[in-house]
Protein backbone atom coordinates (compact mmCIF):
# COMPACT_ATOMS: atom_id res chain seq x y z
CA UNK A 1 0.00 0.00 0.00
CA UNK A 2 2.70 2.43 1.08
CA UNK A 3 4.89 1.31 -1.77
CA UNK A 4 2.15 2.00 -4.29
CA UNK A 5 1.58 5.47 -2.85
CA UNK A 6 5.31 6.18 -3.03
CA UNK A 7 5.51 5.00 -6.61
CA UNK A 8 2.51 7.13 -7.54
CA UNK A 9 4.12 10.11 -5.86
CA UNK A 10 7.33 9.60 -7.80
CA UNK A 11 5.36 9.21 -11.01
CA UNK A 12 3.57 12.47 -10.27
CA UNK A 13 6.86 14.24 -9.71
CA UNK A 14 8.51 12.71 -12.81
CA UNK A 15 11.47 15.04 -12.80
CA UNK A 16 13.04 13.45 -15.84
CA UNK A 17 9.94 13.82 -17.94
CA UNK A 18 9.56 17.41 -16.81
CA UNK A 19 13.09 18.34 -17.87
CA UNK A 20 12.68 16.49 -21.16
CA UNK A 21 9.53 18.45 -21.96
CA UNK A 22 11.01 21.77 -20.87
CA UNK A 23 14.08 21.24 -23.07
CA UNK A 24 11.77 20.55 -25.98
CA UNK A 25 9.84 23.76 -25.25
CA UNK A 26 13.14 25.63 -25.03
CA UNK A 27 14.23 24.24 -28.40
CA UNK A 28 10.93 25.37 -29.94
CA UNK A 29 11.43 28.88 -28.59
CA UNK A 30 15.00 29.00 -29.94
CA UNK A 31 13.69 27.80 -33.30
CA UNK A 32 11.02 30.53 -33.27
CA UNK A 33 13.66 33.14 -32.55
CA UNK A 34 15.87 31.87 -35.38
CA UNK A 35 12.99 31.81 -37.87
CA UNK A 36 11.81 35.26 -36.89
CA UNK A 37 15.32 36.73 -37.10
CA UNK A 38 16.07 35.21 -40.51
CA UNK A 39 12.70 36.18 -42.01
CA UNK A 40 13.14 39.72 -40.69
CA UNK A 41 16.53 40.04 -42.40
CA UNK A 42 16.06 38.00 -45.58
CA UNK A 43 12.32 37.94 -46.15
CA UNK A 44 10.28 34.88 -47.10
CA UNK A 45 12.14 33.05 -49.84
CA UNK A 46 14.21 29.97 -50.60
CA UNK A 47 17.37 31.58 -49.25
CA UNK A 48 15.77 32.27 -45.88
CA UNK A 49 14.56 28.65 -45.70
CA UNK A 50 18.09 27.39 -46.36
CA UNK A 51 19.51 29.71 -43.69
CA UNK A 52 16.80 28.69 -41.21
CA UNK A 53 17.58 25.01 -41.79
CA UNK A 54 21.31 25.64 -41.34
CA UNK A 55 20.89 27.65 -38.18
CA UNK A 56 18.39 25.14 -36.85
CA UNK A 57 20.87 22.31 -37.28
CA UNK A 58 23.65 24.36 -35.69
CA UNK A 59 21.61 25.53 -32.71
CA UNK A 60 19.36 22.55 -32.03
CA UNK A 61 21.06 19.37 -33.26
CA UNK A 62 24.80 20.04 -33.20
CA UNK A 63 27.03 19.23 -30.19
CA UNK A 64 26.96 22.96 -29.33
CA UNK A 65 23.23 22.94 -28.57
CA UNK A 66 23.73 23.46 -24.85
CA UNK A 67 25.68 26.64 -25.53
CA UNK A 68 23.04 28.25 -27.73
CA UNK A 69 20.16 27.24 -25.48
CA UNK A 70 21.96 28.53 -22.40
CA UNK A 71 22.77 31.76 -24.20
CA UNK A 72 19.11 32.13 -25.16
CA UNK A 73 17.99 31.63 -21.55
CA UNK A 74 20.56 34.15 -20.29
CA UNK A 75 19.54 36.63 -23.01
CA UNK A 76 15.89 36.35 -22.01
CA UNK A 77 16.66 36.69 -18.31
CA UNK A 78 18.84 39.76 -18.77
CA UNK A 79 16.33 41.27 -21.19
CA UNK A 80 13.73 40.99 -18.44
CA UNK A 81 15.99 42.70 -15.91
CA UNK A 82 17.45 39.75 -14.04
CA UNK A 83 20.65 41.69 -13.34
CA UNK A 84 18.63 44.21 -11.36
CA UNK A 85 18.02 41.62 -8.65
CA UNK A 86 21.77 41.21 -8.09
CA UNK A 87 22.29 44.97 -8.09
CA UNK A 88 19.52 45.43 -5.54
CA UNK A 89 20.73 42.62 -3.33
CA UNK A 90 24.46 43.30 -3.31
CA UNK A 91 24.60 47.11 -3.68
CA UNK A 92 21.29 48.70 -2.67
CA UNK A 93 20.14 46.34 0.07
CA UNK A 94 23.17 46.70 2.47
CA UNK A 95 22.66 50.45 2.46
CA UNK A 96 19.00 50.19 3.38
CA UNK A 97 19.68 47.63 6.06
CA UNK A 98 22.46 49.80 7.57
CA UNK A 99 20.15 52.75 8.13
CA UNK A 100 20.59 56.46 7.37
CA UNK A 101 24.27 57.07 7.95
CA UNK A 102 24.63 55.36 11.32
CA UNK A 103 25.06 52.09 13.06
CA UNK A 104 26.82 50.20 10.33
CA UNK A 105 30.42 49.96 9.20
CA UNK A 106 31.80 52.64 6.83
CA UNK A 107 31.27 50.57 3.69
CA UNK A 108 27.61 50.16 4.64
CA UNK A 109 27.28 53.93 5.03
CA UNK A 110 28.38 54.33 1.43
CA UNK A 111 25.63 51.92 0.45
CA UNK A 112 22.76 54.13 1.61
CA UNK A 113 21.77 57.29 -0.14
CA UNK A 114 22.00 59.28 3.11
CA UNK A 115 25.55 58.11 3.75
CA UNK A 116 26.64 58.96 0.22
CA UNK A 117 25.16 62.46 0.46
CA UNK A 118 26.86 62.98 3.83
CA UNK A 119 30.24 62.04 2.38
CA UNK A 120 29.72 64.19 -0.70
CA UNK A 121 28.90 67.15 1.52
CA UNK A 122 32.03 66.59 3.63
CA UNK A 123 34.09 66.32 0.44
CA UNK A 124 32.67 69.56 -0.93
CA UNK A 125 33.68 71.44 2.23
CA UNK A 126 37.34 70.57 1.68
CA UNK A 127 39.55 73.21 -0.06
CA UNK A 128 39.10 72.91 -3.80
CA UNK A 129 36.04 70.73 -3.49
CA UNK A 130 33.09 71.37 -5.77
CA UNK A 131 30.12 73.07 -4.08
CA UNK A 132 27.01 70.96 -3.99
CA UNK A 133 23.60 72.50 -4.65
CA UNK A 134 21.44 72.93 -1.53
CA UNK A 135 19.23 69.98 -0.62
CA UNK A 136 15.74 70.10 -2.10
Amino acid sequence: MLENALLQGLALLSIGEFFHDMFLVLKIFVLLTIASWVVMHLGKGPLSIVVIVGFTYLMLFSPWTWFFEGTYVLLMLFTLGFAGIFIDFFFVFPGFAAGPGGGGPPEAKMGSQGGVMQRMRLFSQRPGGRRLPPPM
Binding site: L32, S36, L77, L80, G84, I85, D88, F89, G99
Partner: protein, 109 residues
Amino acid sequence: MDERGMLHIFLLILVALIAVIALPAVVMKVFPLADLIIRIILAFIIFATVRGYLGSGIPSILVSGVLIYFLVIKWAYFAAAAYVALFILLSLQIFSIIIFGIGMGMRRG
Protein backbone atom coordinates in the same frame (compact mmCIF):
# COMPACT_ATOMS: atom_id res chain seq x y z
CA MET B 1 26.44 43.74 8.74
CA ASP B 2 28.27 40.48 9.42
CA GLU B 3 28.18 37.36 7.26
CA ARG B 4 25.74 35.55 9.55
CA GLY B 5 23.25 38.40 9.31
CA MET B 6 23.61 38.49 5.52
CA LEU B 7 22.95 34.75 5.38
CA HIS B 8 19.75 35.16 7.39
CA ILE B 9 18.59 38.01 5.20
CA PHE B 10 19.45 36.06 2.07
CA LEU B 11 17.37 33.13 3.33
CA LEU B 12 14.50 35.48 4.18
CA ILE B 13 14.57 37.01 0.70
CA LEU B 14 14.77 33.54 -0.86
CA VAL B 15 11.74 32.32 1.10
CA ALA B 16 9.80 35.48 0.19
CA LEU B 17 10.61 35.09 -3.51
CA ILE B 18 9.70 31.39 -3.53
CA ALA B 19 6.40 32.18 -1.76
CA VAL B 20 5.54 34.83 -4.34
CA ILE B 21 6.50 32.58 -7.24
CA ALA B 22 4.49 29.64 -5.86
CA LEU B 23 1.41 31.79 -5.34
CA PRO B 24 -0.25 31.20 -8.76
CA ALA B 25 0.14 27.43 -8.43
CA VAL B 26 -1.48 27.54 -4.98
CA VAL B 27 -4.32 29.71 -6.27
CA MET B 28 -4.86 27.34 -9.20
CA LYS B 29 -5.01 24.38 -6.83
CA VAL B 30 -7.38 26.01 -4.36
CA PHE B 31 -9.76 27.78 -6.77
CA PRO B 32 -10.78 25.71 -9.83
CA LEU B 33 -12.22 28.74 -11.61
CA ALA B 34 -8.90 30.55 -11.26
CA ASP B 35 -7.24 27.45 -12.69
CA LEU B 36 -9.43 27.68 -15.79
CA ILE B 37 -8.92 31.42 -16.20
CA ILE B 38 -5.13 31.21 -15.81
CA ARG B 39 -4.97 28.37 -18.34
CA ILE B 40 -6.97 30.45 -20.84
CA ILE B 41 -4.70 33.43 -20.26
CA LEU B 42 -1.61 31.25 -20.78
CA ALA B 43 -3.03 29.83 -24.01
CA PHE B 44 -3.76 33.33 -25.34
CA ILE B 45 -0.27 34.53 -24.40
CA ILE B 46 1.40 31.56 -26.08
CA PHE B 47 -0.61 31.98 -29.27
CA ALA B 48 0.05 35.73 -29.36
CA THR B 49 3.77 35.17 -28.81
CA VAL B 50 4.04 32.55 -31.56
CA ARG B 51 1.98 34.66 -33.95
CA GLY B 52 4.36 37.53 -33.26
CA TYR B 53 7.27 35.34 -34.32
CA LEU B 54 5.77 33.47 -37.29
CA GLY B 55 2.81 35.58 -38.39
CA SER B 56 -0.72 34.33 -39.02
CA GLY B 57 -0.76 30.94 -40.70
CA ILE B 58 -0.70 27.19 -40.32
CA PRO B 59 2.82 27.04 -38.77
CA SER B 60 1.70 29.37 -35.98
CA ILE B 61 -1.24 27.12 -35.15
CA LEU B 62 0.91 23.98 -35.18
CA VAL B 63 3.66 25.42 -32.98
CA SER B 64 1.09 27.01 -30.67
CA GLY B 65 -0.65 23.67 -30.32
CA VAL B 66 2.55 21.92 -29.27
CA LEU B 67 3.46 24.66 -26.81
CA ILE B 68 -0.08 24.83 -25.40
CA TYR B 69 -0.08 21.07 -24.87
CA PHE B 70 3.15 21.19 -22.88
CA LEU B 71 2.74 24.48 -21.03
CA VAL B 72 -1.02 24.77 -20.52
CA ILE B 73 -2.26 21.18 -20.34
CA LYS B 74 0.68 19.14 -19.06
CA TRP B 75 2.73 21.53 -16.90
CA ALA B 76 0.22 24.29 -16.21
CA TYR B 77 1.30 24.95 -12.62
CA PHE B 78 4.92 25.40 -13.62
CA ALA B 79 4.01 27.55 -16.61
CA ALA B 80 1.80 29.81 -14.49
CA ALA B 81 4.53 30.19 -11.87
CA ALA B 82 7.16 30.86 -14.55
CA TYR B 83 4.92 33.38 -16.27
CA VAL B 84 4.27 35.27 -13.03
CA ALA B 85 7.94 35.12 -12.00
CA LEU B 86 9.47 36.05 -15.33
CA PHE B 87 7.05 38.31 -17.10
CA ILE B 88 5.23 40.04 -14.28
CA LEU B 89 7.60 40.15 -11.32
CA LEU B 90 10.85 40.42 -13.24
CA SER B 91 9.81 42.78 -16.02
CA LEU B 92 7.89 45.06 -13.64
CA GLN B 93 10.76 45.08 -11.10
CA ILE B 94 8.57 43.63 -8.34
CA PHE B 95 11.55 41.63 -7.08
CA SER B 96 13.30 44.93 -6.36
CA ILE B 97 10.32 46.06 -4.31
CA ILE B 98 10.41 42.84 -2.27
CA ILE B 99 14.14 43.19 -1.59
CA PHE B 100 13.66 46.88 -0.80
CA GLY B 101 10.81 46.08 1.61
CA ILE B 102 12.81 43.45 3.46
CA GLY B 103 15.78 45.83 3.66
CA MET B 104 13.63 48.62 5.06
CA GLY B 105 11.99 46.23 7.52
CA MET B 106 15.37 45.21 8.90
CA ARG B 107 16.75 48.72 9.03
CA ARG B 108 18.79 49.71 12.09
CA GLY B 109 17.47 53.02 13.27
